[in-house]
């Protein structure tokens, strides 16, 4: 009888130990598990293949970057003496050619775009109008807006005229240097076979080529369109494609610039890439591939200096990236 009860106690203790060990084991495994890695997404929006650019296509290399201490970078311009101006946060920052801050001044509102004239005056597109500042940051003149609904997204300044891309009215405005409106370019006109600009998102760039003709980015049609300064249609080029040779998405190129030989530098959003096209619109090379930028970076404003170095305003990484052709470095 006594032995039996002893056995029973032993059995009870053993069972208890087993239960305790089980609880401990379960607890240990449930508490020490690492957070599970994410499973793959069956509904992934997959454009990775298009984000990849073959190495041999990249003909430019980044030679320098200038960090810009602004929250929201909007626009970039480079002057003939390679001084750099950046707009954002209701400010203009001026950097000298070495990338040191030379001057900064405040604006009443952020400048959406800017251009530097040959006399180093700054032309700024602020909301619906244009403002002109001298090199010290003093306001020289404020031109009256063309229309209350105007929205100036890009400026190009030549010796005799100022071209303003107005995304609000879907036209390019041509002013003389005193602010008198000379004519409108690109207005929809079926008689002259001008389809008109379609600007689905707030990027509408304008530039003047070495021959003095005007180029505007018709982003809705994924085209670059060419006009005479008087507004006569000349030509256009551009293909819609996510592939490297085309413009991706619904509304690109968001920005472009023209090199000294008349070839084009274009920037896209969605697939963040900067590319070179020749005068005829033939794809030539890649300047910066998507993997260089933070995904979702939009508004890669472009500028070109007298040595055909390409300046890219990277609003995601908040810096100005400067690219140079690989050949010109070697040579």
């Amino acid at each position: 009888m006594k032995i039996q009860s002893g056995r029973k106690t032993l059995a009870t203790v053993l069972v208890m130990l087993v239960i305790a060990a089980t609880i401990t084991w379960l607890g240990y495994h449930s508490l020490t598990r690492k957070p599970a890695p994410t499973g793959d997404n069956p509904f992934e929006y997959d454009i990775e293949t298009y984000r990849h650019v073959p190495e041999e296509m990249i003909r430019y290399t980044q030679i320098r970057q200038i960090p810009v201490n602004l929250d929201k970078l909007l626009a970039l311009a480079v002057a003939a003496d390679k001084r750099i101006c950046v707009s954002g946060d209701n400010k203009i920052l001026q950097y000298d050619a070495d990338g040191k801050i030379a001057r900064s001044f405040n604006l009443t509102a952020s400048a959406q775009c800017l251009a530097i004239a040959s006399n180093y005056r700054l032309f700024l597109g602020v909301g619906n109008h244009i403002e002109i500042y001298d090199t010290t940051g003093a306001l020289v003149k404020r031109w009256p807006p063309f229309d209350a609904n105007s929205f100036i997204t890009s400026l190009a300044v030549t010796h005799e005229a100022v071209f303003a891309a107005d995304a609000g009215k879907l036209i390019i405005l041509r002013y003389d240097l005193n602010g008198n409106l000379l004519n409108k370019i690109g207005e929809k006109d079926t008689t002259r076979d001008i389809p008109g600009f379609i600007i689905p998102s707030p990027y509408f760039d304008v530039a003047v080529d070495p021959d003095g003709f005007i180029w505007g980015a018709n982003t809705g049609r994924l085209l670059l369109e060419n006009f005479t300064p008087e507004g006569g249609p000349r030509s256009h080029w551009g293909t819609s494609s996510m592939r490297i040779e085309g413009f991706s998405g619904c509304c690109n190129p968001s920005h472009f610039a023209i090199l000294s030989d008349g070839s084009f530098v274009t920037a896209e959003k969605g697939l963040e890439r900067v590319k070179i096209y020749d005068r005829a619109g033939q794809f030539i090379a890649v300047v910066a591939q998507p993997s260089l930028f933070r995904q979702g970076t939009a508004g890669l404003d472009l500028a070109v200096d007298s040595d055909d170095c390409i300046y890219v305003l990277d609003s995601g990484a908040r810096q100005v990236r400067i690219f140079q052709h690989k050949n010109s470095i070697n040579g």
Binding site: G27, L31, T32, K34, P35, P37, T38, N149, F151, A167, G168, L170, I198, I199, P200, S201, P202, G296
Partner: protein, 434 residues
């Protein structure tokens, strides 16, 4: 952070009008064909009026249930009302919000300064407690959809040993403790996540919960209401209040004649049988045990609290912020095997790692305090149970165990006095009819 969601929601409420103004795309296409831009459809959330109807139904069913249990004494009507509640609070309202889960909302409201709690939820939490304080667990009898579902599937209830019944009856305290800890720290609503029945109400399960639910239902066919007896954290509060209730369901309508007939009628083993006339144990030994237990209690509570507090960091891993911070730390130290969506989203949002780590440390500190309290609470529950078992109360009649009786009314029929009452009632009816 989950904790801030309520604050956020008010900010959004304020900003909706404002942001509406800047929602125009740029620039607006000028349609020439007279096309009018449609507004996005926005089906309204359930109207506020329905909440008041829910509250009204809750109070009505509780009142009816209490009346049926205490006055009308009709198992069939209780069962019918129970089916109605199962339909309304279960299948119609799809199980949310239920008083069982509302504990967590109340706890979150008490501990998280940023958490605002809808009035309905407070009412759903409070009203069954008040009814229980006055009439016993009539909420469990015919109002709770979780109880109703289990009650409906009882097929052949088996008895389990009384001691096992009591030991398993301690699990709800643990569950309640953990549920409060996780709700107070904003980590999770455990009771909702591990609710085995809500999936039936909305035809939606994840795999693990589906298996758990099926197991509980299958067990429930043979061990009556397993969730209510061995898991339900709200049941803990109801037990306490039911023990103090003003009125409570009785087996006999008037007097107990000690016929023993009702003893096996309760599928929940909540009928207490009369005790021997004389205290059967050794009084001095019992007293010694009592003193020993009283003396041991502080020590045990401390050990338990210490042990639990040592698990606090691991327990805190359920919290979103701690999970994210751990992942980010792994990635930053190069030990991560893969990058998660959460860490990608975190890095895209631009908050600093330092801030995240500080938040994680904050959460872990809350868990530290919480685990101390949890450990102490659990030890206290066990010790109080043991101490309570040392006391001997003489009982002459067959009575429902107030803590564990669901007031389901199954025992009425087992009582000969009840049959007597019914016959009298019928007799009166007959005589009136005639």
């Amino acid at each position: 952070m989950k904790k801030q969601f309520i604050i956020l929601c008010f900010l959004f409420a304020l900003s909706v009008e404002f942001t509406f103004a800047v929602e125009q795309r740029f620039p607006r296409p000028d349609f020439e064909s007279g096309y009018v831009q449609p507004e996005p459809t926005s089906p309204a959330a359930r109207a506020a009026a329905w909440q008041y109807i829910d509250i009204a139904v809750l109070i009505l069913t509780l009142s009816l249930s209490s009346w049926l249990v205490l006055q009308r004494r009709s198992r069939n009507l209780i069962f019918t009302l129970m089916l109605f509640s199962l339909w309304y609070f279960g299948f119609h309202r799809q199980g949310c919000i239920c008083p069982v889960g509302s504990i967590q909302n109340v706890v979150a409201a008490l501990f998280d300064p940023a958490y605002a709690i809808p009035v309905t939820v407070v009412v759903f939490f409070i009203v069954p407690l008040i009814f229980t304080l006055f009439f016993g667990r009539t909420f469990c009898a015919a109002v709770c959809p979780l109880g109703a579902l289990q009650d409906a599937v009882i097929v052949k209830p088996q008895k389990i040993p009384a001691w096992l019944n009591q030991v398993l009856g301690l699990i709800p305290y643990l569950y309640l403790g953990f549920a409060i800890l996780y709700a107070a720290t904003g980590a999770a609503f455990l009771v909702c996540r591990f609710d085995p029945f809500v999936g039936f109400f909305r035809f939606g399960f994840n795999e693990g919960m589906f298996i758990f639910s099926i197991i509980i239902i299958l067990i429930g066919m043979f061990i009556a209401r397993p969730y209510c007896r061995f898991l339900c954290p709200y049941g803990v509060l109801l037990k306490w209040l039911s023990m103090l209730s003003k009125k409570h369901a009785t087996i006999t309508p008037n007097e107990c004649i000690q016929c023993h007939l009702c003893a096996d009628s309760c599928p929940f083993e909540a009928i207490q049988i009369p005790t021997p006339d004389k205290y059967p144990g050794d009084t001095t030994r019992t007293r010694r045990q009592l003193y020993l237990l009283l003396a041991l209690t502080p020590l045990i509570v401390l050990i338990s609290a210490w042990s639990f507090s040592n698990l606090s960091v691991l327990l805190s891993r359920e919290h979103y912020i701690v999970q994210l911070a751990e992942q980010i730390r792994l990635e930053d130290s190069g030990q991560a095997t893969s990058i998660t969506d959460a860490s990608k989203a975190f890095r895209g949002a631009g908050a600093t790692t330092q801030e995240l780590y500080l938040q994680a440390a904050q959460v872990q500190r809350q868990f530290k305090t919480g685990s101390w309290l949890l450990g102490a609470f659990i030890a206290l529950v066990f010790m109080m149970k043991l101490i309570y078992l040392q006391f001997w109360r003489r009982r002459t009649d067959y009575e429902p165990d107030r803590a564990n009786c669901f007031s389901c009314g199954r025992c009425y029929a087992a009582c000969p006095k009840e049959h007597e009452r019914l016959r009298e009632l019928q007799g009166v009816l007959y005589s009136e009819d005639i």
